[in-house]
Amino acid sequence: MTARALRVVIGSALALASAAALAALSALPYAAEPADQAVIRLAWRARGERVRACRRLTPAELAKLPPHMRQEEVCERRVLPYRLRVTIDGASVVDELVRAGGAREDRPLFVFRDLAVAPGPHRLEVMFEREEDGGGRAEREREEDERADARQTPRRLALDQPVTLATRRIVLVTYDDEGKRLRLLAAPGGGS
């Protein structure tokens, strides 16, 4: 075999090997989640109680404003937070304040938590309760919009029921806006 032929053979082999490596790396097996796990997913959107805190501006503050913006009273609207408590098999796994979205906390509240659990039966208790204090504003008024009140999430939501999860399955706890309650959702055969 001449040196040139040898180079052609080795060059072709290298090109094919590089291509094979590319294909292998293009489809490398990877498990994003552990095999022996299941998940209770808490995910819902809630319309909390909207409140506003108003105060009268001082003459000095008013003087600093342009004439067309001199309103004597300014109000900040926001949505009251909720406390989320989750207990699995009697052990508390979540106890946190869920604040409304948005920089001014005036958007709906969103809950999104994945709780990893061992497959099998569990006792699940979820409590989602409005924090009436809400940061201790001295002056607070309820929103006057009756329609908004009608759409509001109840002050207290609770779920207490047994769940059985198969391996790698996800059970979803979500909020039923029409029934005004928390409910469990699972794919067929994935849990109950």
Binding site: R7, I10, G11, L14, A15, L16, A19, A20, L22, A23, L25, S26, A27, L28, P29, Y30, A31, A32, E33, A35, Q37, A38, V39, R41, A43, W44, R45, G101, G102, A103, R107, P108, F110, F112, R168, R169, I170, V171, L172, T174, L185, A186, A187, G190
Partner: protein, 526 residues
């Protein structure tokens, strides 16, 4: 920091040098894919565009997984076109990284090259995002993980009115708007690539956007064979009520998942921002100290004849021709060359292009080179004038480094780039009595100054200004190419050249050839 940058640069240069030497040996420097990595990326983007348009006809927003599965099941066209699309996208990432590494290793990343560096990073990011959205389109397990992880990361940014993650909780079917937006992003980002590519090469003259045909069709053919022989697969369909099990993931686009998934989204963004900043600021924090930066070229307007050759040869479009200040009195040319220091990388190619030696970086103009050549000749023993090697000190088997003379068994005259070399130096050495002058350049597509070997070859053999004069015996002058790790090639070339010129009569040798004076005489006669 600069020490670290220099250490990384040296290590990268050595690794690339060895890889280049292997590729040159197997494929020849003309078809070395590592030299053409940037152009290979462009060729692959064209492949992605063509195959992507084809695939678009079969993709259904309402049934993403089913439509891709049906396409993959087509044995005659869909399967391999999809495979080619995917493998080309993977190869584009590899070629981009090789290109970035080469640019870094060669120090071509600061000063006037900052724009190319930064736009190159943008291109890499766009390619990456395009690949990400492309994988989400398939809506298999990999797509599910990429989409949910992307949503988790995006949700911490205060730009969306509602969390994107809500779309993937399983409470309701994935909205069709999501797949539409994803498809839109997959198409829109590559369209933006065109503009960024233009910016990327906007500061170079005659950019080589495509690799040599042989290499281009070789790469495309190889990927096509691969897509037929090793068809791409799909993972199981995405199931939002099931934790993603083992599935095939593309390392080139999903490498970050194992690193980022355990981290809180804010920390992941912090890391990403730090890495992005470090990469974008590389031109700043690896810039050499002011004293070490080569000065840009300057024009001696008294010598400039307005011939425009330096303007034509400059690989960075740093030279323009402007009206001669003070007018055209005394029969002078109306135009004179002007160097824009903001664009000049001090490659010195203009010095080699200027017959009257009126332009070049300080200390490296044709006249400076002749002075250096005179000193070089004076330092050599007059009775040992066989082969003299002129070598680029960035490649050329590193023959200009320590121990060079012993290795070459010839005196070595180092230049910063052979494109910088004025042909008068070659003539001077021949007329000083050297039997032969061997010029060793980097392989043309690996020139740090882009076009040095190309212009020198034309100046030596094709009468490009400033050409080697006819009176010089071409048998005594040879140009060879060798990469940094190809010292063996250089040594062999020296030996072969020495044997060939042994049959020639000894060069007559002039006691003191004065080419500078001859140039002035020529210039005065214009």
């Amino acid at each position: 920091m600069q020490r670290l940058a220099a250490a990384v640069e040296t290590a990268a240069r050595r690794a690339l040098g060895r890889a280049d030497a292997l590729m040159n040996r197997l494929y020849g420097w003309r078809y070395n894919p590592l030299y053409h990595s940037g152009a290979v990326v462009v060729a692959l983007l064209v492949v992605l565009l063509v195959t992507g348009i084809y695939l678009l006809f079969f993709y259904r927003l309402g049934a993403p997984y089913a439509s891709v599965a049906a396409l993959t099941a087509q044995p005659w066209s869909g399967r391999w076109v999809r495979g080619l699309h995917r493998y080309a996208s993977d190869a584009a990432v590899v070629a981009t990284l090789v290109h970035a590494l080469r640019v870094y290793a060669q120090g071509r990343r600061w000063g006037p090259r900052t724009l190319a560096w930064v736009t190159g990073l943008i291109l890499l990011f766009v390619v990456f995002v395009s690949g990400w959205t492309g994988y989400v389109m398939v809506w298999d397990v990999q797509a599910q993980v990429l989409a949910t992880e992307g949503a988790r990361l995006l949700d911490v940014l205060p730009i969306f009115s509602e969390p994107i993650s809500r779309a993937f909780v399983g409470e309701r079917p994935i909205p069709g708007a999501f797949f539409f937006l994803n498809l839109f992003a997959h198409i829109a980002f590559p369209i933006g690539l065109g503009l960024v590519v233009w910016l990327h090469v906007s500061r170079v003259a005659r950019p080589g956007l495509l690799p040599p045909r042989g290499l281009m069709w070789g790469v495309i053919g190889l990927l096509t064979v691969l897509s037929v022989a090793w068809p791409v697969t799909m993972g199981p369909a995405a199931d939002l009520f099931r934790l993603p099990g083992p599935a095939p993931f593309d390392v080139f686009y999903a490498f970050w998942l194992p690193l980022v998934r355990p981290l809180p989204a804010g920390v992941a963004w912090g890391l990403f921002t730090l890495i992005a900043l470090a990469l974008v600021l590389i031109p700043v924090w690896t810039k050499p100290a002011a004293a070490l930066r080569p000065a840009p070229s300057a024009v001696d307007e008294n010598l400039c004849s307005g011939c425009e050759q330096c303007y034509l040869d400059c690989p960075y479009e740093a030279i323009t021709m402007i009206g001669r200040p003070g007018g055209t009195a005394e029969g002078r040319s109306a135009l004179v060359a002007h160097v824009n220091p903001a664009r000049c990388v001090s490659c010195g190619i203009c010095a080699g292009s200027c017959a009257p030696m009126g332009v070049g970086p300080p200390g490296r103009t044709g006249r400076d080179q002749l002075s250096a050549a005179r000193a070089f000749v004076a330092a050599q023993r007059p009775d040992e004038r066989g082969v003299v090697v002129i070598a680029c000190d960035r490649g050329a088997g590193e023959i200009t480094g320590p121990g060079a003379v012993e290795t070459a068994r010839s005196p070595v005259y180092a230049v910063t780039c052979v494109g910088n070399l004025h042909t008068s130096v070659v003539e001077y050495l021949v007329r000083a009595g050297w039997r032969g002058v061997l010029i060793v350049s980097c392989p043309p597509r690996d020139c740090w100054s882009r076009e040095g070997p190309k212009w020198l070859e034309q100046r030596l053999y094709h009468e490009r200004e400033a050409e080697l004069q006819e009176r010089v015996d071409r048998r005594r002058v040879r140009l060879v190419h060798a990469g940094a790790a190809e010292r063996g090639v250089v040594v062999a070339a020296i030996a072969q050249f020495r044997a060939e010129i042994a049959t020639l009569a000894a060069s007559p040798g002039e006691a003191e050839p004065d080419l500078a004076r001859e140039c002035e005489v020529e210039e005065a006669g214009r």
